[in-house]
C-alpha cells in the first residue's frame, strides 16, 4: 500500500511539472490529438504533452515497456487516471490503435508484429482505422465479402468497406477479409496494411450532423505482405469479436465525452427553465430530468460495481454486456432531453442567433443517433445479453 502511495506522490509531482497549462482545460473536439503522419497539433502544447507522456509510456500505461508502454500494474494505472483527473489533464492521445488494435495485437500478434506496430501506436506515430462493416455486412458482420487471395509471395485484396471511421486520415488499417468463401465465420482473417498502398481509395460520407467522420473505403488489387496476417489463416473471427468488446467499451465511454462542452442535463434544464427559485419550472420536464440523471447515477454505480467485481476476481461478465447498450441509449436520451429543455434555441444549424453551445447541442444530438448503431446496434446488444447472460435459446 505504501508503495502505491509513493507512486501517487511521484505521479502527482511529475504531472504537475509536465502537464502544460492549456492541457488542463476542457478539450474542444478540434484539439483532440489522434496522432499519425498527418497530425497537425492545432494547439502546440498538445505535441509537447504527447511527447512527454509517450516518453514515460503513459499513453498506454499498462502495456509492457518493451512495446512503448509504462509497464504499470492495474492499481498504478488507476492511480494515474485519478491523478490526471485531479489535475484535469487531457488525454494526450486518442487512438483506435490504443483502444482497439493494441489489446488484440498484444494477445494474438507475432513478436515481429508487436515490435513493429505497438511502439508506433504508443508514440502516436501511426493512426489506425478499422475495416469491419461492408455495404452487405452490418449487424451480420460475418457475412463480409472483401476477398483476400493468396498470391504466393503476397495477399491480394479486393472489396469495399463502409463506416470506416477516419479512413481518410488513417495511416494503416486493421481489416477483416474473407480467405475462404465456402464457410462463414471460419473463413475470415484479420489483416493489417498501409492505407498508402496502391489500390486504396477513401470517400468521406456526410452524416445527418453535417460531420464526415465515416468513409466508404475501396480496395482494388491491393497487395499486402504475407506477414501481415494476425492470428493465423481463417482465425480472424475470434480476434474480431474480442476487438469488438474493446470497441463497445470505448463507444460507451466516448458517448459520455463527446459534446464535451455541453453541460449535464440538469444544468442545461436549470439554465433554460428557471422560475427564479432555482427549480426547473416545468413539472413534466423536471420529472424527466430527474429520471434521466438518476439512471445515469445508477449506471455509474453499476460500472463501478463491475470494476470492483473484476478487481476481486468475481466478475461473471454479465454486467459488462449491458454497458454498450445502456451507455449509448442513455446518451441519446440525454440529448433528446436537452433539446426539449432548450426549445427552439437548440434548432440552430449554423451562424448567427445561436450560442456556440446551442449549435453544439444540435450537432451532437444528431451525432448521438449513431451511438446505438455503430459497433453493434442496440438490438444486437440485446440479443447478446439474451443469449449469453440469460441463456435464452436461439
Amino acid at each position: 500500500m505504501s508503495e502505491l502511495t509513493e507512486f501517487r506522490a511521484e505521479t502527482r509531482a511529475w504531472l504537475d511539472e509536465n502537464c502544460p497549462p492549456s492541457m488542463r482545460t476542457p478539450m474542444p473536439d478540434a484539439e483532440r490529438v489522434w496522432g499519425g503522419r498527418g497530425e497537425t497539433f492545432k494547439n502546440p502544447e498538445s505535441r509537447l504533452w504527447l511527447e512527454r507522456m509517450a516518453g514515460r509510456g503513459w499513453t498506454v500505461p499498462t502495456w509492457p515497456e518493451t512495446y512503448g508502454g509504462g509497464g504499470l500494474s492495474a492499481d498504478q494505472a488507476q492511480v494515474l487516471r485519478e491523478e490526471m483527473g485531479r489535475l484535469k489533464c487531457r488525454a494526450p492521445l486518442s487512438s483506435f490503435g490504443i483502444w482497439m488494435l493494441g489489446p488484440v495485437l498484444l494477445k494474438y500478434g507475432t513478436e515481429a508484429q508487436k515490435a513493429e506496430h505497438l511502439p508506433r501506436i504508443a508514440r502516436g506515430e501511426i493512426r489506425w482505422c478499422q475495416g469491419y462493416s461492408e455495404p452487405g455486412a452490418g449487424s451480420d458482420l460475418a457475412s463480409l465479402k472483401t476477398r483476400c487471395e493468396d498470391q504466393g509471395d503476397h495477399w491480394l485484396i479486393n472489396g469495399q468497406k463502409i463506416w470506416t471511421s477516419y479512413a481518410n486520415y488513417a495511416d494503416w488499417i486493421f481489416c477483416l477479409v474473407r480467405t475462404d468463401t465456402t464457410v462463414k465465420h471460419d473463413g475470415i482473417s484479420f489483416i493489417l496494411f498501409d492505407m498508402a498502398s496502391e489500390g486504396v481509395e477513401t470517400r468521406p460520407i456526410t452524416l445527418i450532423s453535417g460531420a464526415s467522420v465515416f468513409c466508404e473505403t475501396f480496395f482494388t488489387d491491393v497487395k499486402v505482405p504475407k506477414d501481415n496476417l494476425v492470428g493465423g489463416l481463417n482465425r480472424g473471427w475470434t480476434i474480431a469479436k474480442e476487438l469488438l468488446q474493446h470497441e463497445r467499451g470505448m463507444i460507451a465511454e466516448i458517448g459520455r465525452t463527446i459534446g464535451g462542452t455541453v453541460p449535464p442535463v440538469d444544468v442545461v434544464a436549470k439554465q433554460y427553465l428557471n422560475d427564479g427559485s432555482g427549480r426547473i419550472a416545468d413539472a413534466a420536464l423536471r420529472d424527466a430530468v430527474a429520471r434521466h440523471v438518476m439512471n445515469d447515477r445508477a449506471f455509474g454505480l453499476t460500472i463501478r460495481r463491475a470494476a470492483q467485481e473484476s478487481e476481486a476476481g468475481t466478475a461473471s461478465g454479465g454486467l459488462s454486456s449491458m454497458f454498450k447498450y445502456y451507455g449509448t441509449e442513455q446518451n441519446k436520451a440525454k440529448f433528446e432531453l436537452i433539446m426539449k429543455c432548450v426549445g427552439s434555441s437548440g434548432l440552430g444549424w449554423e451562424g448567427e442567433g445561436f450560442s456556440d453551445q446551442e449549435l453544439e447541442i444540435c450537432r451532437t444530438w444528431l451525432r448521438s443517433k449513431g451511438n446505438s448503431i455503430e459497433g453493434g446496434t442496440s438490438e444486437v446488444q440485446l440479443n447478446v445479453m439474451a443469449k449469453r447472460v440469460l441463456g435464452l435459446p436461439d
Binding site: 427549480r279 438518476m294 445508477a298 454505480l301 463501478r304 460495481r305 438490438e379 440469460l390 435464452l392
Partner: protein, 379 residues
C-alpha cells in the same frame, strides 16, 4: 464505496436464503392468506427469526440486538422478498425499533427494546393520513393538557397496525397541515382507551390498519425525540428503512424475473420455445438491465446508511425510485409472459405483482422519490 458483499454478508445471505425457502416459501404465504387469516404472519417463524437476531437487527447489543449493518440486513430482506415472506421484520425491526432507539428516553428504551429484540413485542408507525405518501401532510393533533397530551386524528396504511403492541404516532403539536415543523412522535399503547383499529385487507394479503385516535391521553414521557421536531427524527430512520425495503423489492423482482425466464425456456408454441422469440428476448434483456441498475443503487444506499454518508438521502431515493420502476416493469412483464396461466390464482407469479404494488407505495413511490432527488440535487 464498496458495492460488493463481504464474506460475512454472503454467509448471512446464504443463511437467509436457506431459512426463507424452508420456513417461509411462497406456499407458506399462500397458506397464511387462505387459512390463518387473523395475524397475517407466522408467529413460529417470527420467533425463529428473532432467535437468529433479526428482530433486533439494527439494535445495539446492550438492548439484546445483533448490531450488524444495513448492508447485511439488506441481504436478509432481499431473500425475504424472493419468497414474499410476510413477517413483522419491516414494521418492527426496520421502522419501529430504530425510532425508539433514536428518540426514546432511557426508561423507554430499557422498557421496550429488549422485548422487541426478543421478538416478543411488535411496533408500528402511524404516519400516513392521505393516499399518497407525504410525511408533513399531517392534521392529527396532540394538545398539551397539564402533564399529558390529548391525541386526535386518523391514520391509514399503518403496516402491522392491527397486531402491534405499541404504535408510534406522528401528530401535530403546532403549525398547520404541510408544515415540516410542528410534528411530534408519540409512543402509544395499542390497547389505550380511544384507539380504534380496523384491519384493512390489502391486495398483497399483508397486514395494515386504519387507526383512529379519539381523545387518547398520552404522557409527556411517551414522546420520542423533541416536541415539534418529529420529522427530523423520522427522516434518517425512514431513509434506512426505505433502503431496506428497496432490497426486499429487489429480491421480489429478481425472483419474478428468474421465474419468468425459466418459463420462457420451458413453454413451447409454434414448435419452439417461446424464449427464442426476439420480441421476448429483448424485453427480457431490458429487465435484466433494470435489475442490475437497481441492485447497484440498493447496495449504494445500504452502504451509505452504514457509513453515515452525506449522500444517504439521495442514494435512498435513488434506490427506492429504481426499485419501484424496476418492479412495476418486471411484475407486469412477468404476468404477460406467463400468458393465461399468469392470470390464475393457482400460479404464484400474480402474488409478486400484488406485493410489488403495495411495496411501491410504502414510504413514497418512484415519482415521489424522483421529486425528492431533484430537491436534494437543487433542480
Amino acid at each position: 464505496m464498496n458495492l460488493l458483499l463481504s464474506e460475512e454478508e454472503q454467509i448471512l445471505k446464504h443463511g437467509a436464503h436457506e431459512f426463507f425457502t424452508a420456513q417461509l416459501p411462497v406456499a407458506a404465504f399462500r397458506r397464511l392468506r387462505d387459512e390463518i387469516g387473523d395475524l397475517g404472519y407466522d408467529p413460529g417463524a417470527w420467533r425463529e427469526m428473532a432467535e437468529m437476531g433479526w428482530a433486533g437487527v439494527v439494535l445495539p447489543e446492550a438492548y439484546g440486538g445483533a448490531g450488524f449493518g444495513y448492508k447485511g440486513l439488506g441481504q436478509v430482506l432481499e431473500e425475504a422478498g424472493r419468497t414474499l415472506a410476510a413477517s413483522p421484520l419491516f414494521a418492527t425491526a426496520l421502522v419501529g425499533a430504530p425510532l425508539v432507539l433514536a428518540g426514546g428516553s432511557d426508561a423507554i428504551k430499557s422498557a421496550f427494546l429488549p422485548a422487541v429484540a426478543a421478538g416478543e413485542r411488535l411496533l408500528a408507525l402511524a404516519l400516513d393520513e392521505h393516499p399518497r405518501f407525504a410525511p408533513s401532510r399531517i392534521a392529527s393533533r396532540a394538545a398539551l393538557e397539564g402533564d399529558a397530551y390529548r391525541l386526535n386524528g386518523c391514520k391509514r396504511f399503518v403496516l402491522d397496525g392491527h397486531v402491534a403492541d405499541q404504535i408510534i404516532v406522528a401528530a401535530r403539536t403546532s403549525g398547520e397541515i404541510d408544515d415540516a415543523a410542528g410534528i411530534t412522535l408519540f409512543l402509544v399503547e395499542a390497547a389505550a382507551e380511544g384507539v380504534l383499529r380496523t384491519r384493512t385487507r390489502m391486495v398483497d394479503s399483508r397486514n395494515a390498519a386504519q387507526i383512529s385516535f379519539n381523545d387518547v391521553i398520552v404522557g409527556r414521557d411517551r414522546i420520542l425525540g423533541q416536541v415539534d421536531a418529529g420529522l427530523e427524527l423520522l427522516e434518517p430512520v425512514l431513509d434506512a428503512a426505505t433502503a431496506g425495503l428497496a432490497a426486499e423489492m429487489l429480491g421480489c423482482g429478481a425472483e419474478a424475473f428468474e421465474r419468468t425466464l425459466a418459463y420462457l425456456k420451458l413453454r413451447d408454441q409454434f414448435g419452439v420455445k417461446i424464449g427464442s422469440f426476439q420480441a421476448l428476448k429483448h424485453r427480457a434483456a431490458l429487465m435484466y438491465c433494470e435489475l442490475e441498475l437497481t441492485r447497484s443503487a440498493v447496495l449504494a444506499a445500504l452502504s451509505a446508511v452504514d457509513e453515515g454518508s452525506a449522500e444517504r438521502a439521495a442514494l435512498t431515493s435513488l434506490a427506492k425510485a429504481k426499485a419501484s420502476e424496476m418492479l412495476e416493469l418486471v411484475t407486469n412483464e412477468a404476468v404477460q409472459m406467463h400468458g393465461g396461466i399468469g392470470m390464475t390464482d393457482a400460479e404464484e407469479i400474480g402474488l409478486f405483482l400484488k406485493r410489488a404494488r403495495v411495496a411501491q407505495q410504502i414510504f413514497g413511490d418512484a415519482s415521489y422519490h424522483r421529486a425528492r432527488y431533484a430537491d436534494l440535487m437543487g433542480f
